[in-house]
Symmetry: C2
Subunit: 459 residues, 2 copies
């Protein structure tokens, strides 16, 4: 793959209808047996401290590598996305699996879900303790669903929570893991710090109420306690929410997954968007009414992402021709300004999005099928850590975690000589989004792979 | 209220744009202080045994009465819908609260959710044991969300599950209730019968496998065990899934709620559509982009209702002008033939739907505002038990649980002399739905209330 290149004309190139001609004049159609596919991962939208930026980027790259290893070994999207998630969950730096935020009782309770764009099957777990990789349970639930009914015609579950989910996982061969092994020094120190903050906040609140009775409107002497959700605090892990991945495989199937330890100091039993259908992840292959296959994974404040069903909304938006405009509008209208979040003063979230389709010109060829992949991410938070890699890359990439406000960076890159990009630039965002200070950035990339097609009829 | 009247021209009357003129020529604009509002409830789509039909209808009527009592006492939609749900949960005949289906371990685990169309706030509990009225916990979660952030800026949860949900409920003053008190003779005998069936099914399956090894394709001697989900069995409670209600209050606000004990013999920790955002219930007041306020509550196979997000889909469909056609199309395209349920041989579900808007002609009046309410239900199951009542009715109504195939009964009725209906008839459904044998019936009613409006500007 060529280096990342910013492009002035990527608006045009991002549309498969506009750029496919040049792509398929290319003679380097990947030979039979060459691995194909693409993965995009995230390690959360929130605040990633500068001192640990290297670690976050590193884990994203490793997750991409794991997914690509699966794709190269002939694995499909669902396997690759699971492999990426396991790597992300195993990192002590992410808020998923090992190193998850602790809840009010000092315990780990994880949410995770996975969706297969081909079968549209789905599996999810919520408030799950004692399992090292929650995504494995979600994946297994999905697989069991695909096997059909249980004995006596019972419908297999697609969503399990709590102790029942843990028991089901163990009975299906997924090993138990004591919470202590999943707790890190980092998560434990975060818990203690947050507990002190909460106690202080409650003391301040009580004093405020007492003062309010004694001297109305005289709060001057009370220092407000900083919110657990506040951005920009070096040692604050509360905003490091959720990891996820989206994958397209050699057949053009998409899959998406998400996993989270949830908000720091959440109430036991609280389930966030990572376990919620349509909210944490979404994957849907192209079919009659939808031209593009889409996959989405979200991160941020679970309650906001649930109430806006952000994953599904972004997936729907991706059927529009102009991907980056569609994503910005979805983030603005369906999230930041959503009537479902009216009154919320701080709407925190981020998404990674992938969409793909068979290239127009490629459809004329009988034995070659080209798949155009576009990928984007957008967040309202201080930072968002992502990584991406194609099955033909030698290594994964993870761009800068922070971006300037009110600028839209658009990146076009190409695979081998199947180029669809041109020269670098930075495009100012439209006035509409200039005014939205909280919507940080949307990065768009276009990636193409050409795959041999053995069959009289194209899919 | 006049008696229910079937109408040949109700297609026109159902549209607020077509019938409001005649409505507001009426001089009986309800006087100040007269109670207004409407409730529609269901006691599940599934198989309701003939021998207990009376009980099911009776509990629906009682639930309507409770909701109307709240409306008459000045309560809003959210309070009324909660009152209806408590009555439905308390009945030993319904699969919600007391009398819920038992899970594989012989325990009760309930799901419930509630949504407020005005604030768009939402509360839900999943796999909750030890609380008599799960809807009360969902309602309290919703109320707490409306109060704003918790100490140290933490976002309050909108969805709690399992033990954590139970602890939260108790800490918020909702009393605990031992499972034994919620278990009925009926649910216990159902559990024992289902357990035997499962064991038998598993034995048959093992024998089948053994025979398959010994004599391939020789299964003739094995009698298949009847599915737990099968319809038409007199003593089978497995299909009696979920109760719910939709309400519109005197201000035109809508609310919806749903509660379920879940599938019989479900795995512990399994959460169904009743706790799932967008799947179990939906309520959304009219706003800029939507002319109608809508409220929906669903029932049926939780996994199917989750994967199709049926509540939200039906709500969206209700923005079309022709309600009954829109609901039939939604049930057909978004549920029965949904790509999300491809491969499922038995798609079981039902919905109750309510939509309302300010009547066209009423908008010309400075001091009177008329609200037109349309209500419908549709199900793919053998039966669905519903009840409905306006705040000015002397008693609730609960029509026949079963309906003939391929006929669409449409009912128009009016409040007092503010009539918008005409003579009875039965309309054959369009050919399209003639072919859908599983989609039983959709009943539509139109109801109008005229309310005084004190204010210079209408809402």
């Amino acid at each position: 793959m060529e280096n990342l290149e910013n492009s002035t004309d990527c608006k045009e190139t991002a549309s498969p209808l506009n750029n496919s001609g040049s792509l398929l004049n290319n003679t380097d159609s990947r030979p039979d047996g060459r691995a194909m596919g693409f993965v995009l991962v995230h390690a959360g939208a929130g605040y990633h401290s500068e001192s640990k930026a290297k670690e976050y980027k590193h884990v994203c790259k490793r997750a991409c590598q794991k997914a690509v290893d699966r794709l190269r070994a002939g694995g499909m999207a669902l396997e690759a996305v699971t492999a990426a998630l396991i790597e992300l969950e195993d990192s002590p730096f992410t808020n998923a699996g090992t190193g998850s935020n602790l809840n009010l009782s000092g315990e780990i309770e994880c949410d995770a879900s996975i969706m297969d764009g081909k079968s549209l099957n789905y599996g999810a777990v919520g408030a799950l303790s004692g399992i090292k990789n929650p995504v494995l349970v979600a994946r297994r639930l999905l697989s069991e669903t695909q096997k059909g009914k249980l004995s006596a015609g019972r419908i297999p579950p697609c969503f399990l929570v709590g102790k029942g989910a843990e028991q089901w996982a163990i009975s299906h061969g997924i090993p138990a893991c004591p919470t202590e092994k999943m707790t890190t020094k980092f998560s434990l120190s975060g818990y203690k710090r947050n507990k002190r903050k909460m106690e202080l906040a409650e003391q301040v609140e009580m004093k405020r109420k007492r003062q309010s009775c004694e001297h109305e409107n005289d709060f001057g002497c009370l220092e407000p306690v900083r919110d657990l959700m506040v951005e920009g605090e070096e040692n604050n892990s509360a905003c490091l929410d959720t990891v996820g991945a989206v994958v397209v495989d050699r057949e053009g199937n998409v899959a998406a997954a998400v996993s989270s330890g949830g908000l720091a100091m959440k109430h036991p039993g609280r389930v966030g968007q990572a376990a919620h259908y349509g909210c944490g992840c979404w994957a849907e292959n192209a079919r009659d009414i939808s031209l593009y296959s889409t996959a989405v994974s979200t991160s941020g404040s679970g309650e906001h992402l649930i109430r806006t069903m952000l994953a599904r909304e972004c997936s729907t938006a991706m059927q529009a021709e102009n991907t980056h405009q569609a994503l910005l509008e979805a983030m603005q209208n369906k999230f930041i300004s959503s009537p479902f979040l009216a009154g919320e003063d701080c709407v925190l979230g981020g998404v990674i999005v992938l969409r793909c389709c068979t290239c127009g010109e490629a459809q004329r060829s009988e034995d070659i099928q080209a798949v155009l992949v576009e990928f984007l991410w957008s967040h309202t938070t201080e930072s968002m850590c992502v990584g991406y890699m194609s099955a033909q890359d030698s290594k994964a990439r993870s761009p800068s975690l922070r971006h300037t406000h009110a600028r839209l960076q658009r990146t076009v890159f190409s695979l081998g000589s199947a180029s669809c990009g041109s020269r670098p630039s930075l495009l100012p965002v439209s006035k509409r989004f200039d005014e939205v200070a909280v919507l940080r950035v949307a990065v768009v990339g276009v990636f193409l792979f050409v795959r041999p097609f053995w069959g009289g009829r194209r899919r």
